[in-house]
Point group: none
Chain length 213, copies 2
């Protein structure tokens, strides 16, 4: 690590920001440029100055969202993104990976992984923590066993509403659909995931953290 690398933190939670700062302070040559707690603030600050690395915990609606990440990628392609998340939402993580995000950790990572990820971001190298690697491997490996990656975007949307506790009628209203449509989607989802009832689907969804917020 040569001269100094500038960093910005985008995270709505005080404790997480403090944790990130604590870890940053253990690496020489990393300079904290600014912190943001919500999207608008982040974009205002980015207009003034751009960090080399943006550490972002994107999954905190309405403060930040996956869309925030996509906008940063689009408008500031030179900024290295270090994504922090504590979720298990495979499809969302996969989408970000497909958008070209190179560095990815979860809050479940150990200290070594977090530091390795930081160094990778500095060097503009790729780094995926163990959990994210699992997602990558699972996706390329399993075709036979039931996996949520086989669900269509619409189906995933419906599963996430089910996981919120909404019943078919409410989902239909929410998405401006016929209840029949919701029933059909649910039936197809049950078949794909090899589940027997809506209750089982709900258990599955919650245990696999398929809620998108």
């Amino acid at each position: 690590m040569e001269a100094s690398t500038t960093i910005a933190i985008a995270d709505p939670q005080l404790l997480s920001r403090a944790g990130i700062k604590h870890l940053l302070s253990q690496n020489e040559g990393l300079v904290l440029l600014f912190e943001s707690t919500r999207e608008e603030e982040l974009f205002s600050q980015l207009k003034i100055q751009q960090p080399n690395i943006l550490v972002i915990d994107y999954d905190h609606s309405p403060h930040f969202s996956a869309n925030t990440v996509h906008t940063v990628i689009k408008n500031y392609p030179d900024i290295q993104l270090l994504i922090i998340t504590d979720d298990d939402r495979r499809h969302q993580i996969l989408r970000l990976l497909e958008s070209g995000v190179k560095t990815f950790i979860t809050k479940a990572c150990n200290e070594e992984e977090v530091e390795d990820a930081l160094l990778a971001a500095v060097r503009k190298e790729k780094f995926f923590c163990a959990k994210v690697l699992d997602y990558l491997l699972e996706r390329s490996a399993s075709q036979a066993s039931p996996d949520i990656t086989i669900l269509s975007p619409r189906e995933i949307e419906i599963v996430s509403l089910i996981a919120k506790g909404l019943v078919a009628k409410e989902i239909a209203a929410e998405l401006h659909l016929s209840t029949h449509t919701v029933y059909t989607h649910r039936k197809n989802i049950l078949k794909k995931l090899n589940l027997r009832s809506s209750s089982e689907l709900l258990v599955f969804a919650l245990q696999n953290n398929l809620v998108t917020g």
Copy 2:
């Protein structure tokens, strides 16, 4: 703050622990005794030494759960608990309050609230952050509506079967009851917990770790 107050942190996430430590370090006289990342580890450490304050982010199944908190309260009544959570599950929060937890913050709190909560825990005083206060007010305001009450043993039994994904008919078979009985129990449970549908109950049950087997 007199001599020194001992603290332990129970949180599975590295970043959160780092954040808490960072905040602790800004208060003189607070000594970190140990950190735990999961329940078994916590209980082993508690057998050896007990902190004055236990800061716990309990809502991280399978690392910690609401049950972890209840066990600590039962076995170590002298330990001051400082609960950290980022969830909106008001029933779970209310239950912990009823169990005698005095200090409660969420990850959405600002720095001032977190520090006030820490000081309150040191002084064995009560402290509720704005969000938790909202929950309290909501409850005391609606005396007419059904309150959160402790479920009867039979009701808990039924909730745990619901949480396994069993539907009413299956539960009736399992417990050798009429389906009507199951419906009645479920209706009463919904009323007690102020929930609207079976789906909501299922979400509630899973999020509160009411699964027995």
